[in-house]
């Protein structure tokens, strides 16, 4: 376990803490749930990174990278959703 991983997790939780009060405003944004999923996957990846240093390192390592993938994919899906929505709006 590295110190940077813990710092990342703490910062991530801090961002989550800041997000909570602003979430009602965020919800007005199209596809905000997908974006929230992407963030939560990223947060779970950071948590898994910290946890693999304590136990089940193999499992949490896979969870970590799987969460990274889901987060990246969710973000890509959100972008795709936004682009397609824009395209429909323009049409």
């Amino acid at each position: 376990m590295q110190e940077s991983e813990i710092i990342t997790l703490v910062l991530g939780l801090a961002v989550a803490a800041l997000l909570i009060p602003n979430y009602s405003q965020m919800k007005r944004f199209p596809g905000s749930r997908i974006l929230l999923v992407a963030f939560l996957m990223m947060l779970s990846a950071w948590a898994a990174t910290v946890l693999e240093g304590f136990f089940w390192s193999e499992l949490f390592n896979i969870v970590e990278h799987f969460s990274y993938l889901l987060s990246t994919a969710s973000f890509a899906a959100w972008l795709f959703f936004m682009v397609r929505r824009r395209g429909r709006a323009e049409r």
Binding site: T8, L11, L18, L19, W46, Y68, T72, L79, M82
Partner: protein, 721 residues
């Protein structure tokens, strides 16, 4: 390749996909700063995926450290992402609002101009373009004075300068010119935006009031028409709101009460602090009646008392709710004054009529009583209100139908005054007068009966008539006496003059007559035997001389006379002697009918002889025609003269009666007048002397005569008691 490197590779692909989308839609989906941030984020994310792939695939394990470092930045990246999204939301909100305002700006009906401090058009909305006919490009940088009517340029510049100094000008009216020169009236506000004491631009927000101006002009004309019409109806007209304020009033009300619009009606019209009692408008508002009429008194602007009749009618909206009240204010001051004058006059007339002694009854054509005065009411012992409405014939005639001789009905029928005197069963006399009462067209609408009890008046009139008749008789008698006295006086004057003359003449004649008589006597004695013819003529001379002596004696007796020398004595004896002396003179029988019970009488024997002589002479004259007339008839007439005396208590009568020709009425009436005679040779003094002698003895003489039947003269003398 292990599972982790595979997941990392997929992550790299996803990142590349995301990066491609962002680059492809750069500035299209998100704003450019946001897009740039997203690109950075995706790049970092992809770099981590690449470093993981290189580490776990064993291609370049040292990338692990770089990946960890970049991974530390990821929470911050997510924070930026969220921040960017919130900013994006904010921008979108602003853009949405801007769009709304722009839509509002462009589609506003108001004419909105944004002017530079130099007076050039910076921006204008669609309404300005459509109204003035300019395009947006034509308006831009156009000096605003080119849009103004030349008459308004000066005023606009002054306003514009004040606005540049920070003033806000509200509800200013200007006239703009369209591109083709038409005028557009606008009204609006001008304000400026000041930054650092310097004006940035001037806002002009105008409303097109051309239609309103036209409507206002039309309204003004309509109002003028309304004012003209309502000003000439001769009454006030006002619209009263629910809070009793005058919304509108016509010229008459303004003339009477000054400026009334906006003020409460009870203050302006009636000088009250509260709603007037009996207020028609209140009745309309509260009860919803369609019409309320009342009368109010107040003072006009000059403080004069003014009476008004107010007719209030509701003004309803489309739902039927009463929104206001239209009041028609009819000035009735003059009418009120006349009513008061009429009331006073009627009161006075009523007092006068009630004071009359006559019954005054005013009825309609059916004889139903409309009014009656106090005397009439008192005559039936009823009050006026009980009398009015009843039929006069039921009250005064006690009948069920009009009286057959009703003078009021007769007056109504004939259209002229009628009068009748009527006696009632109680013996009183009434003077009834009937007058027709007509309306302005001459149609009879009733009648007036004036009745007066004239019983006393009639009695007085009858007494007066009786007195007048008696007075007239007295006057006639007195007049007759005066005329007789006058005639007597004239006669006496005439006789006095004649007597003076005849006395002188008679005295002078008596001597020659005496000589003639003596000479005739002498010749009779000398020549009495010389012949019958001589003797006859001598006798004729003697007779004529004696007759002349008689005439002279009569004249002297009547004109000069002498005072009687009366001595008490036996009148019968005196008469016997006189008749004895005269028996030979008359050739008709003298019948003596002397009463033996005659009382003593004081008389002048000579004058009594004269009386008897004159009466017998008259009798002889009356008998002569009878004797002559009888000569031709078969029935012999036996003339006679009867001398009689008789006595009544205190009086002795001497009557000389004959059966001669008698006298007619006129002759008998004038028989005692001196110088009146029906004979050719008479002196007309015989009976006059008889009357004088009788009166000298304190007695009288009277004459009764029947034409053809004889005459009786009666001399009355007072007896000695």
């Amino acid at each position: 390749m292990n599972m982790v490197s595979t997941l990392s590779a997929l992550g790299v692909l996803c990142s590349l996909f995301s990066l491609g989308l962002l680059i492809f839609s750069f500035g299209g989906v998100f704003h450019r700063p946001t897009t740039t941030l997203f690109i950075a984020f995706v790049t970092l994310n992809g770099f981590i995926a690449v470093s993981n792939f290189l580490q776990w695939s064993g291609i370049y394990p040292p990338m692990d450290r770089l990946g960890d470092f970049i991974g530390t930045l990821m929470p911050l990246s997510w924070a930026f992402i969220f921040y960017a999204i919130i900013q994006e939301l904010t921008v979108q909100d602003l853009l949405a609002k801007e769009e709304q305002y722009r839509d509002l700006f462009d589609n506003a009906e108001e004419l909105i101009l944004k002017l530079s401090p130099q007076g050039e058009v910076v921006k204008s909305n669609k309404s300005v373009m459509e109204t003035l006919g300019y395009s947006g490009e034509e308006l831009t940088r156009l000096e605003v004075r080119n849009l103004l009517h030349p008459d308004d340029v000066g005023e606009f510049q002054e306003t514009f300068l004040r606005v540049l100094k920070g003033s806000t000008e509200k509800n200013r009216q200007f006239t703009l010119l369209t591109k083709d020169g038409c005028q557009v009236a606008v009204e609006g506000n001008l304000s400026s935006r000041i930054e650092g004491n310097h004006p940035v631009f001037v806002r002009c927000i105008f409303r097109n009031i051309s239609d309103r101006k036209v409507a206002e002009e039309a309204l003004r004309m309509e109002r003028n028409h309304l004012e003209t019409i309502t000003g000439n109806i001769g009454a006030g007209l006002a619209i009263i709101s629910r809070d009793f304020r005058t919304l509108w009033a016509n010229g008459i009300l303004k003339m009477l009460f000054g400026e009334v619009e906006g003020k409460t009606c009870y203050e302006t019209y009636n000088q009250r602090s509260q709603i007037c009692p009996g207020c028609g408008a209140l009745e309309v508002f509260e009860k919803g009646v369609e019409k309320a009429v009342n009368e109010q008194v107040g003072t006009d602007a000059d403080g004069n008392l003014i009476w008004s009749q107010i007719i209030a009618t509701p003004i309803r909206d489309q739902e039927g709710q009463v929104k206001a009240v239209l009041e028609l204010v009819v000035p009735i001051t003059e009418r009120k004054r006349m009513e008061e004058e009429l009331h006073r006059s009627e009161h006075e007339k009523r007092i006068i009529l009630d004071s009359l002694m006559e019954n005054v009854i005013y009825t309609d054509v059916t004889m139903k009583i409309v009014w009656a005065n106090k005397t009439a009411c008192d005559s039936v012992g009823m009050k006026r209100e009980d009398v009015i409405g009843r039929y006069c014939y039921t009250l005064w005639g006690e009948r069920d139908d009009p009286c057959h001789d009703c003078i009021v009905l007769k007056a109504i029928r004939t259209g002229r005054r009628q009068e009748i005197e009527k006696e009632t069963p109680d013996g009183r006399t009434w003077l009834n007068q009937g007058y027709p009462i007509t309306d302005a067209s001459g149609e009879a609408i009733g009648g007036l009966e004036v009745s007066l009890d004239i019983t006393e008046r009639k009695r007085v009139e009858e007494e007066l008539a009786s007195h007048r008749t008696r007075l007239e008789e007295l006057v006639m008698e007195r007049t007759r006496q005066l005329e007789e006295a006058r005639d007597e006086l004239v006669k006496r004057e005439r006789l006095a003059a004649l007597g003076q003359l005849t006395a002188t003449v008679s005295h002078e004649l008596r001597n020659p007559l005496g000589v003639i008589y003596s000479s005739a006597y002498y010749l009779q004695r000398i020549l009495g035997n010389s012949g019958e013819k001589i003797s006859k003529h001598l006798q004729r001379i003697t007779n004529q001389v004696m007759m002349c002596n008689t005439i002279v004696d009569d004249l002297l007796e009547y004109t000069r006379g002498r005072s009687p020398e009366m001595f008490p004595g036996d009148l019968n004896a005196a008469l016997q002697k006189i008749l004895d002396d005269l028996a030979s003179v008359y050739d008709f029988p003298l019948i003596r009918d002397l009463s033996p019970e005659l009382p003593q009488v004081s008389f002048d024997a000579g004058k009594i002889r004269r009386v008897v002589t004159n009466l017998l002479e008259n009798a002889r004259q009356a008998l002569t025609p009878q004797q002559q007339g009888d000569q031709g008839s078969n029935a012999p007439h036996a003339p006679w003269v009867r001398i009689a005396t008789r006595a009544e208590p205190g009086t002795v009568f001497i009557q000389v009666e004959d059966n001669g020709v008698g006298m007619n009425e006129e002759t008998a009436r004038r028989a005692f007048e001196p110088l009146f005679t029906t004979r050719a040779r008479g002196t007309g003094l015989g009976l006059a002397i008889v009357r004088n002698v009788a009166e000298e003895h304190g007695g009288h003489v009277s004459l009764e005569s029947v034409p053809g039947g004889g005459t009786r003269v009666t001399v009355s003398l007072p007896a000695i008691a």
